[in-house]
């Protein structure tokens, strides 16, 4: 294991509303860049992070009062780990969806206007894990800086 001094940590917590999420995603993205997230990974991380946080806002707190989204990022020279936690409803089946993208091979009027979020998260991360613990959803996203992009 790498010594802890090689690792930096970034934490942010914000109310689970669309406007707060938008500002939070921007703040995290800037913070990670400042802490040394490789430039070539910045877009991937921002897209995946946005989709995961938007899922919390739109689904975990659907029909209940929105509480907070807590995001913890751990960055070292080889990888970035992001933990997103919330106290909303659990993922259906206690498992992330398969992430099969909506098909665009259709007529213009039938084109999908959603259904890409989990697909993008899977495409852009190296690994995903989810657990429900003590009333919290804990979604972990890992980004390796070598090999799989």
């Amino acid at each position: 294991m790498n010594p802890i001094s090689n690792e930096t940590c970034l934490e942010l917590s914000f109310p689970a509303t669309e406007a707060e999420a938008s500002a939070g995603i921007e703040q995290l993205s800037i913070g990670l860049s400042n802490q040394g997230l490789p430039v070539q990974k910045a877009d991937d991380v921002k897209i995946a992070l946005a989709e995961a946080i938007n899922n919390v806002v739109e689904h975990a707190y659907a029909g209940i009062a929105p509480a907070k989204v807590q995001v913890t990022c751990r960055l070292d020279q080889n990888r970035l780990d992001i933990l997103i936690s919330d106290t909303g409803n659990p993922l259906p089946g206690l498992h992330p969806p398969d992430g099969i993208p909506a098909s665009v091979d259709t007529t213009p009027q039938d084109l999908p206007e959603g259904g890409f979020g989990w697909y993008l998260i899977y495409e852009l991360t190296s690994d995903i894990s989810y657990e429900r613990r003590r009333g919290c959803n804990r979604l972990s996203l890992r980004f390796d800086f070598t090999g799989h992009s």
Partner: protein, 112 residues
């Protein structure tokens, strides 16, 4: 959210004056697009050069904007930054829309 529109020949150019099209502004974007394209040319070019980020909700709002133009009008996209282009490419929406590197490219394609 800030859209401006100009007519250049047979093309309406709509410029996005927001650095992102995301979940927080997707509905507003769609409504603003509806107002801007209420009447106008058959071809609309959306200039995305100033947009530094888009998520799947923003992408969905652009798809919805295309649908609300109806079958006889066309929506092309111009000037996407790399992160925007990546979202279109990953979702294969780059096979649905014509993406031009710059607004000039989009406008010169009109003459073809």
């Amino acid at each position: 959210m800030g859209l401006t529109s100009t007519i250049t020949g047979a093309t309406q150019v709509i410029t996005v004056h927001s650095d992102r099209i995301d979940a927080a502004m997707a509905i507003q974007f769609k409504e603003d697009m509806r107002r801007e394209t209420d009447s106008g040319t058959d071809r609309v070019v959306l200039d995305l050069a100033g947009v530094e980020f888009i998520d799947s909700s923003g992408l969905g709002a652009i798809v919805a904007s295309m649908k609300q133009l109806g079958g006889n009008r066309k929506l092309d996209l111009a000037g996407p930054q790399p992160v925007v282009e990546k979202v279109f490419r990953l979702t294969r929406m780059d096979t649905v829309f014509r993406l031009f590197p710059t607004l000039d490219d989009a406008l010169s394609a009109t003459a073809d």
